[in-house]
Subunit: 263 residues, 2 copies
């Protein structure tokens, strides 16, 4: 696991994201009205085609690595030294409603811990990358943004975000509402894109529930390399058997208070 090998992992991740963009964009904002019942929906086609091109690229470069994709399932063992976890379209709701905030997520685990993450928004052409132990990077041809979480926000001034109230399990709602009351304002929607915004210092806290490994894996190196923390709602590191809760925080000194509020 040398720096040189990480450079190559990152190059392949960029190639995957470039290929996924080409596969996804033709299906974005395509109407559903002309589809017959047996046809696949645009999001299904985009999902499948983007995952196929990414799997092909990863296999070509790393035939002995394991792989886990939302669409195509698992290949190889999940406790392998190297495991790629990919989600061609994170934010199905956003994609099907034409919002340019869905993302392609690419991550690489080393013995069960995510060490490389890439978040890509194909329409705005924004891309975030993170490698364990290194500062994260933000690439955008048009939009402003600088890596670095907001470090000095008090809890009462914090901008809270969550994808949807509908993803919170009943037993998690009271904790979330307590956190809403303790913070300044809540914005909804965003999926992985909101975590990219947290890494740019635009959002202070994100609390999500019922997330799968492919939903959070790519976010971990990006958030940590921007100065934030990302754990479950108890403050424990995320791993393949995590309970589905995810908590990202731009100002790590707030974390104990947030965990207490959520419980």
């Amino acid at each position: 696991m040398t720096e040189a090998s990480f450079d190559h992992f990152l190059t392949v991740a960029h190639q995957c994201a470039d290929a996924a963009r080409q596969a996804v964009l033709p299906h974005f904002r395509m109407g559903l009205e002309t589809l017959s019942k047996s046809d696949d929906s645009p999001v299904t086609l985009a999902d499948r085609q983007a995952e196929d091109v990414m799997r092909t690229l990863i296999k070509k470069h790393y035939p002995h690595h394991s792989m886990w994709g939302e669409e195509g399932g698992q290949e190889g063992t999940m406790d392998a030294e190297w495991l790629w976890v990919i989600d061609p379209i994170d934010g199905t709701r956003s994609f099907v409603t034409g919002r340019p905030s869905f993302c392609t997520l690419i991550s690489l685990f080393h013995y069960g811990r995510p060490v490389l993450g890439l978040i890509d928004q194909p329409v705005t052409e924004e891309r975030w990358t993170g490698i364990k132990g290194q500062p994260s990077r933000y690439h955008s041809p048009r939009l402003a943004g600088k890596i670095g979480t907001r470090k000095h926000t008090a809890l009462r001034d914090a901008e809270l975000s969550c994808t949807s109230p509908d993803i919170l399990r009943p037993e998690k709602k009271a904790g979330f509402h307590a956190l809403q009351k303790a913070t300044r304002r809540t914005s909804w929607g965003g999926d992985a894109y909101a975590f990219g915004l947290l890494s740019l210092g635009q959002i202070d806290i994100i609390a999500e529930d019922t997330m799968k490994p492919w939903d959070w894996a790519a976010l971990v190196p990006v958030i940590e390399g921007a100065g934030g923390t990302i754990t479950d709602w108890k403050g424990q590191p995320l791993h393949l058997e995590s309970d589905g809760t995810v908590l990202a925080c731009g100002n790590p000194t707030l974390l104990p208070h947030i965990i207490e509020t959520l419980s």
Copy 2:
């Protein structure tokens, strides 16, 4: 109220939106950390500066028209023949969290009814315009999209959208939850941008609450000129004394059923 005068109204509306973009963009994704307590926040500056340039332009062209802006308040009488209603930044939550889905809204009322509307997203450079009795238009240099609501969706297949559960008054929540159960899926966030997406056939139903005239005025001509309906939750036309509920629907044949579900 000839066609020629509408052409000129529309030209001025485009000039206003162009000027607002220039005023707003420098403040988007600006950090808050360096501000002292007495400084204005980026969203306050963007709001005020964009409203100022729009008011100046409208006054120059139509010194005898009335005006109502979210920031600068009312000028002239609200029951005048011509009334411009503008909102420099619709979607404060989106703006302050760096999401490219806030909008600038410009509308013109004729004796209390909105007859011209413009929705502009400065970052993605998407713009929608509507004039009463004419087909709406969508302008975008990069994103795909075609004016026309989705006309044949059944209620159980419908994509429902709402900006935030927090904008629903307690007495409106039960109706909204019933509508959620009757539809396929709910996506959150979006403000005026979601109404633009409904006019492109990407969203089927939007139900909002506690909306002010500057929040909905520009949407009316755009939605109606795309084949949809936009009313309050009882199906009544929107006017300056409406109760704050707003209901947009891409398939007008669903409207009676939706109204019944919401009540």
